[in-house]
């Protein structure tokens, strides 16, 4: 009979909710317990520093600025007299950033990273514009795999050895061309290592362009 069937269904529904009533909640009680952010979660943008020297890895190449779809990154790295870029300003506007991770992927110097931190609510929106110092400080103890091992020594050495020439190597470093996957697949590194030297040409263009602008 319809009535009884309906009644049965209604009771069944209650059964389901009743069943859950006895179960334990799945809630994560936020401030006390926290969700462990998986590797590679895209939280705030930070600038990484060299683990040894404590200096910023960023070379001011401007690739991330160009890759950023929202214009959140504003950097200024004019070339000094020695043709070497000096990072003057590196500002990330967290209000504009859409946490897409493109900057991290575009950077070949392990200089910018999306950290897993996310607690950054502020009372004043101006505090969301992070300058270099803040970015560096945030990135202080961020753990990262240094993928630029081969290049780093070069970068480090070059100024010492031959300051005038450093435009070149940098270019080579900058442009792994389509080596985007390189940065992405940071953990499993094999495929990109060979790729990066492949296409210097394009990166070169880009670099000079940006250089010109700056």
């Amino acid at each position: 009979m319809g009535v009884f069937k309906n009644l049965k269904e209604l009771i069944k529904g209650m059964g389901i909710t009743g069943k859950h009533l006895g179960r334990h909640a799945i809630t994560i009680q936020y401030p006390e317990e926290k969700w462990t952010m998986p590797e590679g979660s895209r939280g705030v943008v930070v600038l990484l520093s060299d683990k040894k020297t404590g200096e910023l890895n960023c070379t001011g190449c401007g690739l991330c600025e160009k890759a950023c779809p929202t214009g959140a990154i504003d950097l200024d790295a004019p070339r000094g007299e020695d043709k070497k870029r000096v990072l003057k300003k590196f500002v990330v506007d967290n209000a504009l950033c859409c946490f897409c991770g493109l900057c991290e992927e575009s950077c070949n110097f392990c200089a910018i990273k999306m950290d897993t931190r996310y607690e950054m609510s502020v009372l004043d929106k101006k505090e969301l514009i992070w300058d270099m110092g803040k970015l560096q400080e945030m990135g202080k103890d961020v753990d990262y795999v240094d993928t630029r091992k081969k290049k780093k020594p070069k970068v480090a050495k070059k100024p010492v050895v031959k300051p005038t020439e450093d435009a070149k190597p940098e270019a080579a470093a900058v442009n792994p061309g389509d080596a985007k996957p390189a940065a992405e697949a940071a953990p499993d590194k094999e495929p990109e290592a060979p790729k990066s030297p492949d296409k210097p040409a394009e990166g070169d263009d880009k670099k000079t362009e940006s250089g010109g602008e700056n």
Partner: protein, 156 residues
């Protein structure tokens, strides 16, 4: 019907109205005469062999010299896809409404009217709908459009 068959069928049946273009990727692309628009659409929709009864999309394009209006249509029963388009002059652009063929064209056309300023003839409800009610800054999707509070992404 495969794409090739579709191409040849269109050529043979609608050859006078639809001229194949080579800019289309993946799906066949044709060019038509704007004044034949409704007729052509009706024919495409009614033709038993193809029966393009589903309008996917209409989009206007501003190439800075002219407008193009692109219609993407599909046939549900025959599982076909086809695009066609035509160009319009930049000034006084006007097209016919294809509402009577595909009712769904209504909003697409309204949008074109609102954002590009292409007038739609025989449209039953050309009123503002995406932009704020008090919008008075012209047709924002045009390439040359600008407004005082419009901030462009700085060139990097």
């Amino acid at each position: 019907m495969t794409k090739e068959e579709l191409r040849s069928y269109i050529d043979s049946t609608f050859g006078s109205q639809l001229k194949a273009l080579d800019t289309g990727r993946h799906d066949p692309m044709y060019e038509i005469e704007p004044q034949n628009l409704v007729k052509t659409c009706q024919a495409l929709c009614d033709d038993e062999k193809v029966k393009f009864n589903f309008l996917c999309n209409i989009s206007a394009v501003d190439t800075t010299e002219k407008f193009e209006v692109v219609y993407s249509i599909a046939s549900l029963p025959n599982k076909l896809r086809l695009d066609f388009k035509f160009s319009l002059p930049y000034e006084n652009a006007e097209i016919d409404s294809v509402q009577e063929v595909w009712s769904g064209a209504n909003w697409h056309e309204r949008e074109i009217w609102e954002l590009y300023g292409i007038n739609i003839r025989n449209h039953d409800n050309l009123t503002r709908f995406l932009l704020p009610d008090d919008w008075d800054q012209g047709f924002p999707m045009r390439k040359d459009w600008d407004a005082p509070d419009f901030i462009r992404l700085p060139e990097k």
